[in-house]
């Protein structure tokens, strides 16, 4: 008797209860980490008069990032010198991030620096999808001795990685 009563009770409970399905949704949001430059080649005239060269807007680079924490690294193929055979001219670069202070944690290129070792800019905020663009300055300090005339080159590499 008790058994049949319990079955009836369970039946009543079951009829008033809810049941259904659960779906696990995962959205993989694409990562964007890009750096680009406005010009892949810089041609600079050095008149060999000893006068310094400085151009704060020699070029620009644009960073696009869908991550909040990332680092942009600048490195030189010849440790911050332009080379022509065994001849070398030291140069410095600078990156002006002052227009986006809220997005930058550390800028090790806020003043003119020779890239004897790679230098970094650490960011702490994702960019708009259009990216953020910064000026790159170029500098050769005044000199007292002539440089051997000719063509001097270096390769400046800009890379980006999640911090």
């Amino acid at each position: 008797m008790k058994k049949s009563f319990l079955l009836v009770l369970i039946g009543i409970l079951a009829a008033s209860m809810a049941w259904g399905a659960t779906i696990n949704i995962t959205a993989n949001v694409t990562q964007v980490l890009e750096v680009s430059v406005d010009a892949a080649t810089w041609t600079i005239e050095l008149n060999n008069t000893g006068t310094a060269i400085q151009k704060d807007d020699q070029g620009t680079f644009t960073v696009k990032a869908s991550k909040s924490n990332y680092t942009v690294t600048f490195s030189s193929g010849h440790s911050g010198t332009l080379v022509n055979g065994i001849e070398a001219i030291p140069y410095k670069i600078k990156v002006d991030t002052s227009a986006w202070t809220e997005g930058v944690q550390t800028n090790n290129l806020s003043s003119y620096t020779q890239l004897t070792t790679p230098q970094t800019i650490v960011f702490k905020k994702k960019t708009p999808t259009a990216g953020k663009t910064f000026n790159i300055g170029f500098n050769i300090e005044a000199y007292t001795d002539y440089y051997i005339d000719g063509e001097y080159t270096d390769t400046l590499t800009i890379s980006i990685a999640v911090s």
Binding site: L13, M17, A18, A21, I25, A27, N28, V29, S66
Partner: protein, 171 residues
């Protein structure tokens, strides 16, 4: 008449049990035979472009089958663990759900619920109410999902998750 007798009997037994002693009873409730909500897939994996322009929309993300057994009046509720948002740590991506009837004819759907009229965010439970038993094989709906971009902005990239629960409620 018989139902009433059974109910009164059941209630009297409950009262009797309560009067005599307290007994801890665990009842595992099974759905009535034949009533169910099933999906063609219980895992949805979505790739979102994250370019600040492109919307993800798949009106046929899943196919839902509802079988009401002998229930004439019932409701299907949609709810989200994160209130209609996919979550990654402290970051969220809003998403929207829509149900589109596949089964034609009179399926007993009452009115046009918001979730049928268009995409809705599950900030609260969204429901579809029915007043007709389903055929034995059930009735089917497509379940769509939509994620809008934030124009000109990236979402923090990575994997976002949520749990969507679809519940059958007998009325």
């Amino acid at each position: 008449m018989k139902k009433w007798v059974l109910l009164v009997f059941a209630l009297s037994m409950i009262l009797k049990l309560n009067a005599q002693a307290s007994i801890g009873i665990t009842v595992v409730v099974a759905p009535p035979p034949g009533a169910s909500i099933t999906m063609d897939s219980y895992i949805w994996e979505i790739s979102f472009a994250n370019d600040g322009v492109t919307t993800y929309q798949n009106d046929n993300q899943g196919t839902m089958t509802i079988r009401s057994s002998n229930r004439k009046n019932f409701r299907v509720d949609f709810s989200s663990q994160n209130l209609g948002r996919l979550k990654q740590g402290t970051d969220y991506v809003a998403y929207y759900i829509k149900a589109t009837a596949i089964t034609g004819g009179n399926i007993g759907l009452v009115g046009t619920p918001a979730i049928v009229a268009g995409y809705v965010q599950l900030t609260s439970v969204q429901s579809m109410e029915f007043n007709k038993k389903t055929p034995k094989k059930g009735i089917q709906f497509y379940t769509g999902i939509k994620i809008d971009p934030i124009l000109g902005e990236f979402y923090e990239s990575g994997g976002y998750t949520d749990t969507l629960t679809i519940t059958f409620v007998g009325l």
